[in-house]
Symmetry: C2
Amino acid sequence: MRIGVDVMGGDHAPQATMNGVAMVLPHLAPDEHLVLYGHEATIRQHLADCIADERIHIVPTSEVIAMDEHPTKAFSRKQGSSMVRGFMNLGADQIDGFASAGNTGAVMVGAMMVVKQIPGVIRPALATCLPVGEHNSNVLLDVGLNPDCRPDVLYQYGILGSLYAKHTLSIDNPRVALINIGQEETKGNLVVKNAYELMKETADFNFVGNVEGGHFFSKDKADVLVCDGFVGNVVLKMAESFYHLMRSDLPNSPVVNRFNPERYGGTPVLGVNKPVIKAHGASSAKAIMNMILQTREVIKSNLCEQIRQTFS
Amino acid sequence: MRIGVDVMGGDHAPQATMNGVAMVLPHLAPDEHLVLYGHEATIRQHLADCIADERIHIVPTSEVIAMDEHPTKAFSRKQGSSMVRGFMNLGADQIDGFASAGNTGAVMVGAMMVVKQIPGVIRPALATCLPVGEHNSNVLLDVGLNPDCRPDVLYQYGILGSLYAKHTLSIDNPRVALINIGQEETKGNLVVKNAYELMKETADFNFVGNVEGGHFFSKDKADVLVCDGFVGNVVLKMAESFYHLMRSDLPNSPVVNRFNPERYGGTPVLGVNKPVIKAHGASSAKAIMNMILQTREVIKSNLCEQIRQTFS
C-alpha cells in the first residue's frame, strides 16, 4: 500500500506534517509505504532520523498552494506543487490514496477534476466522525461541500454514509438518520421533509427516521447522521469550539479530550473514485498521524470500490 | 406589573412550576405580581407557605393542554385550560406578559392568534441566549419557529435580535452577524448569500458580516447571531446535549455549568404584540424561576413597543 501525503499543505506545514509522519511510522506495517510530496531537502533534514526507513519515499516538489489561494486558479497554475503532484499520482494509480491538510478548495478541485466523481453520485460529501463515549463514533455528513442539498442528494448521503460506517468503521447494518428539528415525519424544512419521503421506504440503507441536535454524540438512535453541508459545517465547527472552550478550563478531563479534533484525523471525500482525505488546516502532528492512519483504513476497506459497485 | 404563569404546562408541571414560583418570590419587587393559571386547590395546597403573599393571584382553570396534543385543535377546544386562559388575559391586557413551559405549538397558536404579530414583521422568531464567559450572552435567533427562511426574514431577524440585545440585555449598539460556513461574502447557501446582500449596507442594525459555527460562545465578532430556525434549533439542542454529556463526568465544573439550560429560563417570541416567553418543556423549578425573571425583563424593557415603533 502506498499512502500519499501532502507535506506542504496546512497552517503548520511542513513541520507538523513531518512530525506526524515520524509519529505514524511505528504504527504502519512493513508493506505500508508513505509517499511524501514536498520540498526534498527540508524533508531529508527534518526526518533525518527515519529517512532511511524503506517505507518512506519522497516526490520532490517545487511549489506550494497557499491556504488562501483561489483553488481552481492555483490548481491549474501550480503544476509543480505538492498538492497537484499528489493528485496526479493518485489519478495515475501510483499511490493508493492521498491525504492533505492544505487548501480545502484545492483538495476538492483535485478530487473532482483529477480523481473524479463515481458515476451515479450526484454530489460527493465530506464525512466526519463524532465521538460517542470512549470508543465509538457516529458518522456525520455532509460537513461542508454542499451547502444547498436537494432531497435526492441527502438520500445519496444516506447510502454513502452507510457504506463508510460499514466498511471503514466496521458498524454492522448502520442505522441512518436524518438530522431534523423534531422526530415526527412532518417536521423540518421543505428539503428535509422531501428527503424523509424518499428515505422512509428505502431498501438502500437502514433508515431509522429523524433525530434532533441532541443526538450527535449518542448511539441511542443512529450511527450515521445526514444533513446538508451548511448544517454539518456549523455543527462541526461548534463541536470544535466547545472542545477549545472546555479544554482551557479542564485541560486534563478525558471526557473533554474525546472531542479533541486531533483524534479524528480528517474527513474522507465520499463519492470520488479514489481515497482522498482532507485534514483540518490547523492540524497538529498528532492530527496528521491520525489523518494518515485514517487514509490507510479507507484504502484497506476498499471503500471507493464498494461505493462504485453500489452506484453501478 | 402582572406576570402570567402557566402552572400546568411542562413535563414536570405543576410541581416544577409551583416550586419555581416559590423560588422567584424573594427576587420580585413589591409591585411585581404573579398571576398563576392552574388548578386552584393544587396551587393553594402546594404553595401554602407563600399563598398569603399579596403578589400571588390565582386564576382557576379546569383543563390542561398536554405536551403532545395537536396545538391548534387543543387551543380551540380547551378554552378552560391554563394556556388559553393565560393568552386570553394577555390579549385583554389583564396581565403584562405570559410565560409557559407547555406545548410549544400551543404557545405559538396563542402568540399568533390571540396576541398577534406586530404589523410589518413577516415572521416572529424564538430568540435564545448563549453563554459567553462567566457573565455575558450572545443572542441566537431563530431557534425553531421557521425552518425555511427567506432572505428578508433573516434580515428582519437582524432587527429583532438587535432590539432584544439592546433593550433587554443592555448591549449597546449590538453587532449582528449571519451564521455561515465561511467568513467571506461569497460563502454559504443561496438564502444566506442573498441575506448577506440585503444586510451588508443596512442602517437598520450594526451588521458585521458572517461568522462560523465556532463563534457561538465568543464575543470576538458579534453579539447577535442570525440563522434560520432549522440551524438554530439544531445548534441549541446540540449545546444542551453537550452540557448533559459533560455534566455527568464533570458535575462540579463552573465552565460546564455555564451551559446549564436551567440558567436561560426561556425564549421570548420576538415580533408579537405582547411579551410571550416559552420555556423548555423539561424545565426544572430553577428554570421556571429564570423564565419568570426573564419575562419580567422583557416586560420592563418595553421590548414589544420598541419593536412596534421600529416596524411602524
